[in-house]
Amino acid sequence: MPFVNNVPFFSIFIAMLGGIVMPLIKNGRIALRVTEAAAAIIGVLSAWLLCAVVASGESFTYMMGHFPAPWGNELRAGPLEAMMALAFCMIMILGLEGGRRDMFDDISAHKQNSYCLMLNLLLASVLALVYTNDVFTAYVFIEINAISACGIVMARRFGNSLVAAVRYLVISCVGSGLFLMGIVLLYTCTGQLLMPGMDTAVQALAASGEYRVPLLIAVALVAVGLSIKSALFPFYGWLPNAYASATTSGSAVQAGLISKGYVILFIKLIYRVFTLEVMRDLHILQALFVMGLSGMIIASIRAYQEQSTKRMLGFSSAAQIAYIFMGIGLGTHEGMVAACYQILAHTITKPLLFTSAGMLIRSAHGSKNLHDLRGTARKNPLAGVGFTIGGLSLCGLPLLAGFAAKYYLGVAAMGDPKKMLFALLVLAGSSVLNAMYYLPAIVGIWFPADKGAAEPLAEEREDKGFILSTAVFIGLNIFLGVAIGPMIKLIELGLSLL
């Protein structure tokens, strides 16, 4: 076995160890550096793994211990997993750098190391969700994810952030309870906990028609549990407050990592256990499709009505997650590719918006209200550029990541004559809605309300971390918008090797 195959195990362990040693580091700045260093090491390792699996053209399983598939825990890695791990590590570093100043201002000094602990464990749990080959391991790490995300939400300890945290905790307990019930039912009918054994058993059950109702309910419970966790349309109520009340880097990391980890787990489960045919047969994909379509419209409308900047971005995230589930709900291979592209596009765009918005809010002296942000981009042009690029990308301006994702969703929708009309109409409608709330915001931040007065330029000293992170974010966004062909090929390779 080549040594590079150890990377998934090392990634998860480095992130976990980074979290475990945090209580020993009392200084917030050092803690942040250690967190970033851990994420950087994992990022480099993931890039190495990505090169290796693309070169070898096959994915592999990794035994966690001395025992193979149906007995011991296993990890599994292929191009898609490695790519997602790389993306998540990058978002982690860039989000932390972009929101660094806010973090030191918002969180009291003796809690900064605990905050970094939560971030590390969040990264570890997301990585484990991406790599795991075992549904019960997935459950355990979902709980780590929920608890650490809750810690990140309440880091600021204002009344509202505690309320947001308790709402988040209630909803995520419901989600993980349903998910656990789903895997218990699956275990009851199949007798397996690892994906490779479970998939043959599920195929056999689906073919023979035995235990059809339990299978349906189990798959439905898993789907509902994961969509509650990833804030799909009817269950997105917790999301805007949770994102809005965290500190800037917390919002960025949440928007980039949390819901995406669950979606990738879901895609893995679909490909490795349930298969698209069984899912379509049980009418679950259709339900997801409808939920995705409604979410695209309704969450966008809520974002349009929203007055607070970060809550608007939160609702926009809910709409973007609905796009992903719409892609999954198409039930075709192209739909999945488009959904993965949308995951990548949103994962790099939304943290950019959050870090830029955080900087603009600083320029507006901490006011969250959208109309107080007028003209703030003049004070902090880089943040303005970041917000503009991010917003335009989500509106679907060509050459940016959001456009490519939407374009591919549209192309994928063409493949299914029944769903094509709805999908395209809603896609168009949702894009118009996106433009209706992002464009005024973008114009607003560049033009001060009182037209004559030229504001003095940046009074704060330059924040190198923010400059770096914004530049890299914009670069990534343009890269994803331009290098569509190779990325699609990579995703297709990854999906075929899942």
Binding site: G159, V163, L169, G177
Partner: protein, 127 residues
Amino acid sequence: MLDLQTLIDMRYQVVAVILFCIGFATLFLHPNLIKKVIGLNLMDSAVFLMLAAVGYIDGGKAPIIVDGITDASYYINPVPGGLVLTGIVVAVSTTALFLALIQRLYYMYHTLNLDEILLLAKRSEHY
């Protein structure tokens, strides 16, 4: 198929489902936060009961090897036991976090009713 014999045979699972739904409804519907936590615990216990009932075989012994008998049919299935053990610990951590949050919220809003807390939070946002 819905006859008494099936219900008697499946007694653990049926009770587990009833408990699950009681817990789920409490977690979802009861405005009192402490009751929500209790609902969460009921829900988790129900899932564990269901899981453990799956592994039980009449006449099987606890899976602790005695006298060198290593015949699988002599013992019950050990897998659910291990999973439930993990689950119980996860449930107690969530409970503790939940209760700590409740104490904090109580000091801020002086109520345990989530609806009231939401209203108060909304109000403080606007004034």
